[in-house]
Symmetry: C2
Subunit: 154 residues, 2 copies
């Protein structure tokens, strides 16, 4: 006899992979594994690479500013910076004009590691595009939809 309880419509839908949240997270996990592996030689994760890139890009990079740009909680970024500072890739100093803020800066090594790793990031990116040429359009469409959701937030 089958001891499994009867399915409900909602549970059935959730399990068939049609939950937007679960499906997207799954895709995210796969890609992160792929990109992280591509960057492993540089001892950087894709998240850390992005953080370094933002610090290099901005005129006046602070924790909150980067967190906003990466659309993540400031506390998460704050913690994410720790291994980078520990590794000597990022340094920081309080802002002269606003002592609450912490102004970030890439060290010489941080800059070099970022540049070197970005070449392997490009390889991973190209490889994904090569294997699945439409993915760019797919991701673009998904982000457009997601952005519309966010717009309704406040």
């Amino acid at each position: 006899m089958d001891r499994r309880p009867p399915e409900t419509p909602a549970l059935a839908e959730l399990l068939t992979g049609s939950c937007y949240c679960l499906a997207t997270r799954r895709a995210s996990r796969r890609l992160v594994r792929l990109y992280d592996a591509a960057l492993a030689d540089h001892d950087l994760t894709i998240s850390q690479l992005a953080t370094l890139a933002w610090i290099r890009h901005l005129r006046h990079p602070t924790v909150q500013r980067i967190a906003d740009l990466m659309e993540m909680d400031q506390s998460a970024l704050s913690r994410g910076l720790m291994p980078l500072e520990r590794a000597g890739l990022v340094s920081s100093a309080p802002d002269e004009k606003d002592k609450r803020k912490r102004v970030l800066r890439l060290t010489e090594e941080g800059d070099q590691r970022l540049i070197a790793a970005s070449a392997d990031w490009q390889k991973a990116q190209d490889e994904v595009a090569r294997q699945q040429a439409d993915i760019g359009a797919d991701v673009t469409r998904l982000m457009a939809g997601i952005n519309r959701l966010a717009a309704n937030d406040g």
Copy 2:
């Protein structure tokens, strides 16, 4: 004067949001926040809801089997089960035939919480679909592409 170093093509691409990995992860973070908030009243995360749903669905749910289905590392699921067992929503017993395996089971309360929470999951899912009707197609396309990537793995 502008102290920012010159951009490289790769870094420029990475920062403009065209990194498949970062874009997907960002979308994932947003959706997780949204669904987790929708489930907060039930003290469940979207991840925990999925885990409970799989346990309820399978004839013979074990850690590895569910990890495979959710496409995540077995150790991650193993840890994810802890709060569920601690909360009394899931119980387990060693498999009679194969003592290495741990057979999972929903408790009465686990079953009730799952059913109750799935109604709110449906609300979140419907709300997302309502605000962005195309998202289903977007996610489907993305997953199809991602699945093609995975096929090239082994």
